[in-house]
C-alpha cells in the first residue's frame, strides 16, 4: 500500500488531493465560513492563517468531517465526498489532530498508535505483528518513539507524534493540524516542524492551522489567508512575509454600529491596579491600571492569557507573585468572594460553563449574587427579589416571556443579559467583561455595547476582553495587547488601529512609518 501511495504522491501529480469548493458553514446567526475554495496538493504543507474567528478552524473541521458544510462541495482525489463524522473522513485518508491531545494516558505508545486496529487472531492481539508494524512506521517517519513507554510519560511534542503515527497507521494521506505548536516549547516546535516536512517529503499532505506566522512561512509550501469567514487569497509561502499576511488578515467589517464613545476620563482615580502579576507558566509580569469611568480593552490572540488576567484580578485563580490593588490599597483575594465583596464583578468567558445555572429560572440566576442582600434572617424575601429582577430585566432590556422561565430556553444574547443583570444588582465599581458578545446575535450585541458604554459613563471601570479587535477598538479608551502571557503593547484609543494591534498580537515586525 505504501509503495502505491508514494508513487501517486509525486510532485508531478496535478490533481489536488483535497479540494474544497465554495464551502460554507453557519453557526446560529454567525456565518463562520463563506464560500471558501481551497485546493490542497499531494505532498504539500498548506498553511491556514487568519485572526481569531476568521473561520480557519471551522474550515479545517469541515475537511476533517467534524462539521458538515451547509453549502459547497468537498472532493478527495477528484471525487465528491460528504463526511458524516471524522471516521468517514478517515476512511478517505483524512486525519484530524485536534488541539487537545486525545491519547489513552496509561496505555503504551504502541497501544495508542494501533488502538482499534490491533492485528488479532480471534480476539487475541498478535503482539509480535503489532510490534513489527510499529517498528516499520517508526523507521519510515524517523520519529524514534519508545514503543513501550506509557503515553502520559511523553513530552507534549512526542505525544503529538503519537497522534501523527496513529493517523499514518490508519493510512492517512492528509493530516490536519489545528494549532499544534501552541503548547510546545521552541525546541519542541522545531522538532514538530521537521516532522511535518518529513511527512510531506513522503507524500502526505499536511494542513497547518496556526497563529505563528513565522512558523507557517517557514514550513508551508502554500498559504491561504482567511478573513471574516472568507478566503482572501492563496499564495505560495515564498511570496509572503509576516507583514503581507497581517495586512491581508485585518479589515473585518464590524457587523454592528459602535455607540459614540465618551471621551476618556483624564483625572479619574485608579480603582483597580495590578502590579507584576505572575502565574507560573501562564502569566508574566502583568501590570495595569484601570480608572473609574474607563473602558480598558484587552486584546490578543486566543490563548495569549487575556482570560487568565481577568481570573487573576477576580481572585478566581491563584497568583504566584505580584499584587492587586483596589482603590489604592493592596488586597489579598482568597477567592472570587473577596473580589465580589470589594466591588468587582466578572462576566466569565464561558456563559454556560462558568456563568449560568442552566436549569434554574431567570429570577434565580439574576439574583444569585445578591440573594443574601434580598433576605432577612436567611429567608429570601421573594417580593423584593421579584421587584429587583423585574427592574434589572428592564434595564438590560431582557426579552423573556417570563422571569420564571428556565434560562436554558433563552437565546445566547438574553442569557448574557441575565448575567449582566446579576452583576448590576451589586452595583460594582469594576466590571470585567470577558467575551461579553461571544455567540450573541447582532441586535443583542449592539445593546451590550451600548450598555458597556453607559456603565462606563456612569463611573464604572470596565475591563473589556474580546477576540474581536474591532469591538475592543470601537469601545475602549485604551487598549492593551497581550501575547504569550505578557502585555506587549499599550495604545490610546486614537493611536490604536487594527493593524497596530494585530502586529503586536502576532509579533510581526512593525513597518517603519
Amino acid at each position: 500500500m505504501t509503495a502505491e501511495q508514494i508513487t501517486t504522491a509525486g510532485a508531478g501529480d496535478v490533481r489536488p488531493r483535497v479540494e474544497a469548493i465554495e464551502l460554507s458553514k453557519r453557526f446560529g446567526g454567525v456565518q463562520a465560513v463563506r464560500a471558501v475554495s481551497v485546493a490542497i496538493a499531494a505532498g504539500s504543507v498548506h498553511g491556514l492563517v487568519g485572526e481569531n474567528g476568521a473561520g480557519k478552524s471551522t474550515l479545517s473541521k469541515m475537511i476533517g468531517g467534524v462539521h458538515a458544510p451547509d453549502g459547497g462541495q468537498l472532493r478527495v482525489d477528484g471525487e465528491a465526498v460528504s463526511f458524516g463524522s471524522p471516521r468517514d473522513a478517515l476512511r478517505h485518508g483524512i486525519a484530524m489532530i485536534a488541539q487537545e491531545i486525545a491519547l489513552v494516558p496509561a496505555a503504551t505508545v504502541v497501544e495508542n498508535v494501533f488502538l482499534g486496529l490491533e492485528p488479532a487472531r480471534g480476539s487475541v492481539v498478535r503482539r509480535r505483528e503489532l510490534r513489527r508494524r510499529f517498528d516499520a512506521l517508526n523507521e519510515r517517519t524517523g520519529f524514534g518513539l519508545p514503543a513501550d513507554a506509557p503515553a502520559r510519560s511523553l513530552r507534549t511534542a512526542d505525544q503529538q507524534k503519537v497522534e501523527i503515527l496513529r493517523a499514518i497507521a490508519r493510512d492517512a494521506r492528509v493530516v490536519l493540524m489545528d494549532e499544534p505548536t501552541a503548547a510546545l516549547t521552541a525546541d519542541e516546535t522545531q522538532r514538530l516542524l521537521t516532522t511535518i516536512r518529513a511527512l510531506a517529503a513522503e507524500g502526505t499532505s499536511v494542513v497547518l492551522v496556526s497563529h505563528f506566522l513565522e512558523e507557517v512561512l517557514d514550513v508551508c509550501d502554500t498559504v491561504s489567508i482567511m478573513r471574516d469567514g472568507a478566503l482572501v487569497r492563496t499564495a505560495p509561502a515564498a511570496d509572503e512575509t509576516p507583514q503581507t499576511l497581517v495586512d491581508a488578515m485585518i479589515g473585518r467589517a464590524l457587523d454592528v454600529m459602535v455607540p459614540p464613545r465618551r471621551s476618556a476620563p483624564s483625572d479619574a482615580p485608579v480603582v483597580l491596579e495590578a502590579r507584576g502579576l505572575r502565574r507560573t507558566g501562564v502569566l508574566e509580569d502583568i501590570s495595569l491600571q484601570l480608572h473609574a469611568g474607563e473602558i480598558l480593552g484587552l486584546a490578543g490572540l486566543v490563548g495569549s492569557g487575556r482570560s487568565e488576567v481577568a481570573r487573576a484580578l477576580f481572585g478566581a485563580d491563584r497568583i504566584s507573585a505580584g499584587e492587586v490593588l483596589i482603590d489604592g490599597s493592596v488586597v489579598r483575594l482568597r477567592g472570587p468572594r473577596d473580589a465580589v465583596r470589594r466591588g468587582i464583578a466578572m462576566l466569565p468567558e464561558s456563559r454556560k460553563d462558568q456563568g449560568l445555572l442552566m436549569l434554574r429560572s431567570v429570577r434565580e440566576n439574576a439574583s444569585l449574587a445578591t440573594v443574601s442582600q434580598l433576605s432577612r434572617g436567611g429567608i429570601v424575601r421573594r417580593g423584593a427579589e421579584r421587584v429587583q429582577t423585574r427592574d434589572l430585566a428592564g434595564r438590560v432590556d431582557l426579552r423573556a416571556a417570563s422571569l420564571e422561565q428556565p434560562i436554558v430556553s433563552l437565546s445566547g444574547g438574553n442569557q448574557q443579559k441575565v448575567l449582566f443583570a446579576k452583576w448590576l444588582a451589586r452595583r460594582p465599581s469594576v466590571l470585567i467583561a470577558d467575551e461579553p458578545t461571544r455567540g450573541v446575535d447582532v441586535g443583542a450585541k449592539s445593546q451590550i455595547h451600548e450598555l458597556l458604554v453607559e456603565l462606563a459613563a456612569g463611573g464604572m471601570a470596565v475591563l473589556l476582553i474580546s477576540s474581536e479587535i474591532e469591538e475592543v477598538l470601537g469601545l475602549s479608551h485604551r487598549v492593551l495587547v497581550m501575547r504569550a502571557g505578557r502585555i506587549v503593547a499599550e495604545y490610546a484609543a486614537q493611536d490604536a488601529t487594527q493593524e497596530t494591534v494585530m502586529r503586536a498580537a502576532f509579533a510581526a515586525p512593525t513597518r517603519a512609518s
Partner: protein, 326 residues
C-alpha cells in the same frame, strides 16, 4: 400555504414537549396517586387510618434521611454514610441512655449524627475526594466505631421512658410521625425559601458559576453533609427508641434506600434540581408498594423486583427527558 402547513406540525411538537416536561415533573405524583387509589379500591384495609399511620410510622426513619439526602443530591453530593451514622447514633443513644438518662441518650444520639456529618464535611473538604468514595470510606469507619462501642452485642435500654419517642402517641399519631412531619416541613422550607437553599441549587447546578458569583461553595457543601448526619442521627434515635435497643449493624443499606427514594421522587442524580417533597414521595411510594404486597398477599419476592424496576424507570426517564430538553 407553506407557512400555514408549518404551524400545525410545530404545535404538536411543542405540545409533546410540554407533555414530556409535565411527565418528568409530575410523573411520580401521578404514579403515586394511581397506586394509592388502586390499593384503596382493591383492598378493604389500605385506606384505614391505622394502616396509613402505620405506613407513616414505618417510613419515618427512612423518610427523615431521604429529606436530607435529597438536599445533598441537589447540591451534587452523594452521602453513602447515612446508614452507618444511623447505626452508630442509635448505639450511642442506647449506651448514654443507660449510663445517664433516656433524655440525655436521645440528645446524645442526635448530636452524634450531627458530629459525624461534620466529620464527613471536614474529611472530604480536606482530602478533596469525591463524595461518593469519601462517604463510602467514612461509613466503614463509622460502622467500625459502632462495633467498638457495642463489642458486637445488642445494647438494650431498660428504662421504659426511652421508648416514648418510638412507641407513644400524640394526638392519635406516633411521636415518630410528628418528628418526620416536622423534619420534612423544615427541610422543605430551607431548600425552597432560604438563601442557603438557593446556594444549594447553585452549587449542585454549576459549581464554578456559584463560586464566581461569590458563593462559599465549601461551606454550603459542608452544611449539607452536616444536615445529612443530623437526619441520620434523628432517624437512628427513633429506631432505637422503638425497640429500646440497638446494635452495630442497624440500618445496613439504608443509605441506598434513601438515595433510591430521592431518585424515584424525581430528583436528578446530576444535581442542581429536585425538591424535598420528592424525596418524601419517593419513600412513601416505595412504602405503599411494600404495604400493597402485604395486603394483597403477594409473594414479597416480587416486591424487590418491582421496586428495582421503578428506580430504573425513574432514572431512565430523567436522563431521556433531560437529553430531549437540550
Amino acid at each position: 400555504m407553506s407557512t400555514t402547513t408549518t404551524e400545525p406540525t410545530a404545535a404538536p411538537a411543542a405540545g409533546a414537549r410540554r407533555l414530556g416536561t409535565i411527565g418528568r415533573e409530575y410523573g411520580i405524583v401521578i404514579f403515586f396517586l394511581i397506586l394509592f387509589v388502586g390499593l384503596s379500591l382493591s383492598t378493604s384495609t389500605f385506606l384505614q387510618e391505622r394502616n396509613l399511620l402505620n405506613i407513616l410510622d414505618q417510613s419515618a426513619p427512612l423518610g427523615i434521611i431521604a429529606c436530607a439526602v435529597t438536599i445533598c443530591m441537589v447540591c451534587g453530593i452523594f452521602d453513602l454514610s447515612t446508614g452507618a451514622i444511623y447505626g452508630l447514633s442509635a448505639v450511642v443513644a442506647c449506651k448514654v441512655a443507660n449510663a445517664a438518662s433516656p433524655d440525655v441518650g436521645v440528645l446524645a444520639g442526635v448530636l452524634c449524627g450531627l458530629a459525624l456529618g461534620l466529620v464527613n464535611a471536614i474529611v472530604i473538604h480536606l482530602t478533596r475526594i469525591n463524595s461518593f468514595i469519601g462517604t463510602l470510606a467514612t461509613s466503614i469507619v463509622f460502622r467500625g466505631g459502632a462495633l467498638l462501642v457495642t463489642g458486637g452485642s445488642i445494647v438494650t435500654v431498660l428504662d421504659e421512658h426511652f421508648t416514648t419517642l418510638g412507641t407513644s402517641d400524640l394526638l392519635g399519631a406516633k411521636y415518630s410521625v410528628w418528628v418526620f412531619g416536622a423534619f420534612f416541613l423544615i427541610t422543605a422550607f430551607v431548600l425552597a425559601r432560604t438563601t442557603f437553599g438557593r446556594y444549594v441549587y447553585a452549587v449542585g447546578g454549576n459549581e464554578e458559576a456559584a463560586r464566581l458569583s461569590g458563593v462559599r461553595t465549601a461551606v454550603i457543601r459542608g452544611a449539607c453533609y452536616a444536615l445529612s448526619g443530623l437526619a441520620a442521627g434523628i432517624a437512628g434515635v427513633l429506631a432505637a427508641s422503638r425497640t429500646a435497643s440497638a446494635q452495630a449493624d442497624l440500618g445496613v443499606g439504608l443509605e441506598l434506600s434513601a438515595i433510591a427514594a430521592a431518585v424515584v421522587g424525581g430528583t436528578s442524580i446530576l444535581g442542581g434540581e429536585g425538591a424535598v417533597w420528592r424525596g418524601v414521595l419517593g419513600v412513601l411510594t416505595l412504602a405503599i408498594i411494600g404495604n400493597g404486597f402485604d395486603l394483597l398477599n403477594i409473594d414479597s419476592t416480587y416486591q424487590q423486583l418491582v421496586q428495582g424496576v421503578l428506580i430504573l424507570t425513574a432514572v431512565a426517564a430523567d436522563q431521556l427527558l433531560r437529553r430531549r430538553q437540550r
